[in-house]
């Protein structure tokens, strides 16, 4: 019996070691860059990191990222000057673009279509509108040199708070235990394919086993509509609060949104109050090709091309002049 247990453990350990090697050799697991909170309380990636992002069990999507010296994934450094024309794209993981090669990003595509204009991509997974305005506000001097800012916004996700606060949940991913676990590519790989979800769920079940179960009452259509309306009002109030707190230059700032999934109340508010926005819903609807990746909902190359086209057209129309 002892022999069986010891030998099984030995085999188990050896298989894990070999799998760790195989995952590294075939690069099945993604590289996870390190994040940090800078002295201005802005969360970003530790500058100058390189690596590969992998999606799917069998490396179905494989892309290279490069964190520049400003702490964002980009093919270029951000050095705005008065003499050049620069455009900043600010947003979440869709702008960050880990799921694409950094040299084939939305910014790069737009830049190719806009000779003489530099595009800076300030994308960071999880950034909402509060994060975006806080970033611009914190690096005011730098952003004042940038000629135009485009801020990606998803109404239902990005306006849930009216004031910026550090997202401790994300930074907890840099705790010593997380950093230690990240050293094993096998663990990172298993996590990315969902293999670690059942143990996590089990832990959750065990923790909650003694807690009384909260009864979840079904919500009827009327109630759901009322909740939605309330949320929409709250999100609009958050937008107003953020704009008032961190400032918003209506001439220089433009929102990037999908009007199909944006509340009409919010859209009419934007129109009434002269907030400019680029709406990509029509472009996405008019194409008969998929605009998202297979493994997640991020834009694929075609989707990124459509976005880049819209941005470049918009910028051309703006006819930006140097400061």
């Amino acid at each position: 019996m002892k022999k069986l247990i010891l030998k099984s453990l030995l085999y188990f350990f050896l298989i894990l070691v070999i799998l760790e090697v195989l995952v590294r050799v075939f690069h099945l697991g993604k590289d996870t860059p390190t994040r940090f909170l800078d002295d201005r309380q802005v969360e970003k990636w530790v500058p100058n990191q390189n690596g590969f992002n992998v999606t799917g069990n069998r490396r179905q999507n494989f892309s290279e990222f490069h964190i520049n010296s400003s702490g964002f994934n980009s093919y270029r450094e951000f050095t705005p000057t008065k003499n050049n024309i620069e455009v900043a794209l600010i947003g979440d993981s869709f702008i960050e673009g880990f799921h694409q090669n950094y040299y084939n990003s939305i910014g790069k595509k737009a830049e190719n279509a806009l000779p003489g204009i530099e595009i800076y991509e300030y994308g960071y997974a999880g950034y909402d509108f509060a994060d975006q305005l806080h970033l611009v506000h914190s690096y005011k001097k730098q952003f004042d040199l940038i000629d135009h800012l485009i801020l990606g916004i998803k109404f239902s996700n990005d306006l849930t708070r009216g004031e910026y606060k550090v997202a401790k949940g994300r930074l907890a991913l840099e705790s010593p235990i997380h950093r230690l676990l990240k050293k094993s590519k096998l663990i990172v790989y298993c996590k990315s394919i969902g293999l670690l979800e059942p143990p996590q769920e089990l832990m959750y079940r065990l923790i909650n086993i003694l807690k009384p179960k909260r009864e979840v009452l079904p919500i009827n259509d009327e109630e759901a509509l009322r909740i939605r309306k309330e949320n929409e009002k709250a999100y609009l109030a958050n937008f107003k609060s953020l704009v008032a707190k961190y400032g918003y230059d209506k001439e220089r700032y433009t929102l990037l949104l999908d009007s199909k999934i944006t509340s009409p109340i919010f859209l009419s508010y934007l129109e009434k109050n002269d907030f400019n926005y680029i709406d990509f819903s029509q472009s996405f609807e008019n194409t008969n090709r998929s605009t998202t990746l297979i493994y997640d909902r991020h834009w694929n190359n075609h989707g990124r091309e459509l976005i880049a086209k819209l941005i470049s057209k918009y910028i051309q129309k703006k006819d930006l002049k140097t400061k």
């Binding site: 069986l4 099984s8 298989i15 069990n57 179905q60 293999l195 143990p199």
Partner: protein, 483 residues
């Protein structure tokens, strides 16, 4: 609790270690512990249906003794009928009640009588009912045929009925094999345990990598058969052949392997049916515990093949129809059984139904001959064709599927419903078939290689395969649970 769930991978080591470290001293204690573990295993799915297992256990335990102690044939037969009626009654109510009501209503509607309110009920099919009722019935039948002496130990008998590795989807054991092992004290055997672990690993591979990874493709093709050309439909039903094999034989391997960990040898259920050279050989290799059950308890009592050609054919038709009906309360399964009867009868009439009983394809050779390859491909084609009925939701769907193949006989490349690379699956299946061919001589030793290094490499590749094809989004339950 599914064999491929985390719950089972926590449950199994706990039960295994407790069994061999604490409850190993006496046979009765071993059995009481296994019985408790089995009831927990089943109760975690739905504790209410434990009463059904208990009822089936109690009835057959006492019926077995009554048959044995009865002095007249009439009484023996009466007790046997009590067992059969009770077990078939359980099955009939939980599995077939709605089918009979619906079929009756359909029949009446043919004659112009429309049943206003059908008497169908919302019945949940208790997992494993088709398996344990057949197992308990086999006990009473064996006693009736004087092949077995009943046990007086109720705990042992209850353990035989509810032994958790094979409780929910077989193999359907005979008391002569399983009960005799349960009534003897098990002693820890290192080799048996390692063999068990290897079978569990191989069974998991077949389930997680082969069956589960193919499932979304098969589901998509069968759900939208009207939109696809013949090439895709043929691909879909061919992949279903691999899916159902990987799913059920994977389950059986895990069951046999788990039983080995507790010192119990279950019968083999699958003997590489993919390499069958005719339909008769296929039935000697596919779901062996069920086909032998029908052979022993239906075919032979009806006279088997000793009653003349016509009656033998009748018997063949009966067992295939009953076997089809056992799978589910749907006409599709009955047609599936009828197709197999139609495929088996010519082989039987040509006297070729037993020629491959004791050998495997390419026996003592590395490669099969061209004739053998042709035979295997033809058998695979015929069996796969029958699976259109096995997999379709209804007879209308099955014929619709066939019609679509006929009317849209074109080739188009198929894209995975989730956008994955199809080539991955073709490579996977090709490697799987080649590997199964390599190990085809012994279904109970999937890693029989002399070199430890080769074995270790294969273990690692098997685990790597599970990682490469693991999908947390799909339904991981076993196909045969619905039966």
């Amino acid at each position: 609790m599914l064999f491929n769930s985390l719950d089972f991978f926590i449950f199994l080591p706990i039960v295994f270690i407790t069994y061999w470290f604490i409850f190993y001293k006496k046979n009765q204690v071993q059995n009481l512990f296994i019985l408790s573990a089995s009831y927990i295993f089943y109760g975690l799915w739905d504790w209410r249906f434990l009463f059904l297992i208990l009822a089936s256990t109690v009835v057959d335990f006492f019926v077995g003794q009554a048959i044995h102690s009865s002095d007249s044939d009439r009484k023996r037969k009466l007790w046997l009928w009590i067992s059969v009626i009770f077990n078939i009654g359980l099955l009939g109510f939980f599995k077939y009640y709605n089918f009979f009501v619906d079929s009756w209503a359909d029949l009446l509607s043919i004659f112009g009588y429309e049943l206003k309110s059908t008497w169908t009920l919302q019945i949940i099919l208790p997992v494993g009912i088709s398996f344990y009722t057949f197992q308990t019935m086999s006990y009473s039948l064996d006693i009736y045929y004087k092949r077995l002496t009943p046990t007086k130990d109720f705990i042992s008998f209850a353990t035989f009925v509810s032994f958790f590795p094979q409780l929910v989807a077989g193999p359907i054991e005979r008391a002569s094999n399983l009960l005799s092992q349960i009534t003897s004290k098990r002693v820890f055997n290192y080799t048996q345990c390692t063999d068990g672990l290897k079978l569990i690993l191989w069974g998991l591979f077949k389930k997680v990598v082969i069956a589960d990874s193919i499932a979304p493709i098969v589901d998509d093709i069968f759900a939208n058969y009207g939109e696809y050309p013949a090439s895709t439909l043929i691909l879909g039903v061919s992949l279903f052949s691999f899916q159902v094999y990987g799913d059920f034989s994977g389950y059986s391997d895990i069951a046999i392997g788990t039983a080995k960990l507790f010192g119990i040898e279950l019968m083999s259920n699958f003997k590489f049916p993919t390499f069958s050279r005719n339909v008769a050989e296929y039935w000697q290799r596919w779901h062996v515990s069920l086909s032998t059950w029908f052979r022993h308890y239906v075919y032979i009592p009806l006279g088997g093949n000793r009653v003349g050609k016509l009656k033998s054919i009748r018997n063949i038709i009966i067992i295939f129809l009953v076997s089809g009906f056992w799978h589910g309360a749907n006409w599709t399964f009955i047609v599936w059984g009828a197709i197999h009867a139609a495929l088996y009868i010519p082989v039987f009439l040509m006297g070729r139904n037993r020629i491959y009983m004791n050998n495997v394809v390419a026996e003592n050779r590395w490669f099969p001959s061209i004739i053998e390859i042709s035979q295997i491909l033809l058998t695979f084609f015929l069996v796969t064709f029958s699976r259109i009925f096995f997999r379709s939701e209804s007879i209308t769907d099955a014929f619709g599927f066939l019609k679509q193949i006929y009317h849209n006989f074109t080739f188009e490349s198929y894209s995975h419903p989730l956008g994955y690379r199809m080539i991955d699956y073709f490579i996977l299946l090709a490697l799987f078939v080649l590997y199964e061919f390599k190990i085809r001589r012994d279904e109970r030793s999937p890693f029989k290689f002399k070199s430890k290094i080769v074995r270790f490499i294969i273990y690692t590749l098997v685990v790597l395969g599970m990682l490469l094809f693991y999908d947390d989004q799909i339904d991981r339950s076993f196909i045969y649970f619905q039966f």
